[in-house]
């Protein structure tokens, strides 16, 4: 949706400026719509990889969008790599399940929260802007522990 604005035109130069403003505000709407809900993208997808969302299972090819509350699953031959809007990077090995439980990120202040849970399998991760701004605002949970991230690369394994 584009915002409606009225501009009183006083001169030709100002008119040019107003035209730009209209164009820019129009674009703002289009750019922002995406930032509001998509939290990341699938970048690499090998073998069987799927996303469980609202009780439905979707095939997750590279380019697939990720949302809060999604669950990402890999099969026996599967592997998946993802990037998130705070530039954090996560990937899963075979036979793995990761729940993207909570994600919020303010692109101006970098405040946010990223909570995911490894249900089974292997996870590799490099933290991003959320953990850099607020140590331990990025958390990875497993059935037995909670990992708070203070800006680093790490791996987690949850055996079957």
């Amino acid at each position: 949706m584009n915002p409606i604005i009225t501009v009183s035109v006083k001169s030709a130069t100002r008119c040019m400026g107003a035209a730009w403003l209209v164009l820019l505000l129009g674009l703002t709407g289009a750019f922002e719509a995406r930032a509001a809900d998509v939290i990341g993208l699938v970048k690499t997808s090998k073998g069987s990889v799927s996303i469980e969302r609202g009780g439905q299972k979707i095939n997750a090819a590279s380019g697939a969008k990720l949302y809060q509350s999604d669950q990402v699953l890999t099969g026996e031959d599967g592997a998946v790599g993802m990037t998130f809007v705070d530039n954090s990077r996560l990937s899963l090995g075979a036979n793995s399940t990761l729940a993207l439980e909570k994600f919020r990120f303010n692109t101006t202040t970098h405040e946010g929260e990223f909570v995911s849970a490894v249900k089974r399998g292997t996870l590799a991760a490099v933290s991003g802007k959320i953990a850099r701004q607020t140590p331990e605002a990025m958390q990875v949970r497993t059935p037995s522990a909670i990992l708070g991230v203070r800006g680093t690369k790490f791996v987690v394994e949850v055996p079957e």
Binding site: F31, M82, R89, S91, G93, T107, S144
Partner: protein, 194 residues
């Protein structure tokens, strides 16, 4: 069929108990060799891992160092799947305008090559200001600058749905200064490609 061997049954049981149900956490060095840290919290206890290959198994009270070949064996597939790190390109404007400096052409070209070389490549355009003026005004200015660059990118053929716009205002100066100090190098737009 083999006859039952109590010794091998015992060895199998040992092996199974060693493998069963123990979550493993490992901190790894970044590509540049630097190491951050994680805190592993279980049963109300915190254990900090802050050295390369520092590891802990759930339920254990002590960390240990895991061999790199064990990391590769267990996590090779996941590690191979990690997408490449984001990379930033910085553009400057002619003083007080949204017109890019003439030497920004090669930077734009390098950025474009980078984004097209990545699978499902994306761009985050981030505006930055110096510390002159109010924080809120600088947020708006930073966003407006980022927006104008986003517009240029889309006009030059980059798909709009791969571009995100952000304004960091005066929070992330390239050159640290006191408040209200003019610093042209801080008035910039960063294009982060991931």
């Amino acid at each position: 069929m083999k006859t039952f061997n109590p010794l091998s049954a015992f060895a199998l049981a040992l092996l199974l108990s060693a493998c069963a149900g123990k979550d493993l956490f490992v901190v790894l060095p970044h590509e540049d060799g630097s190491v951050g840290s994680v805190v592993v919290r279980q049963n109300g206890r915190d254990i900090v891992l802050d050295k390369a290959n520092s590891a802990i198994k759930a339920g254990d009270g002590k960390s240990f160092t895991i061999a790199s070949k064990d990391v590769d064996q267990r996590f090779g597939t996941a590690l191979t799947g990690l997408p490449p790190a984001a990379r930033s390109y910085v553009l400057y404007f002619k003083e007080g305008t949204v017109i890019l400096e003439p030497d920004s052409g090669p930077v734009m070209e390098a950025m474009r090559k980078d984004v097209t070389s990545r699978t499902a490549g994306e761009i985050m355009v981030i505006g930055h200001t110096d510390k002159v003026g109010k924080v809120a005004d600088n947020d708006e200015l930073a966003f407006t600058r980022a927006l104008s660059v986003g517009d240029v990118l889309v006009a030059s053929g980059i798909a709009r749905d791969t571009v995100m716009i952000a304004g960091r205002g005066e929070r992330e100066p390239l050159v640290p200064t006191d408040d209200e100090v003019e610093e042209p190098r801080n008035r910039r737009v960063e294009i982060s490609v991931r």
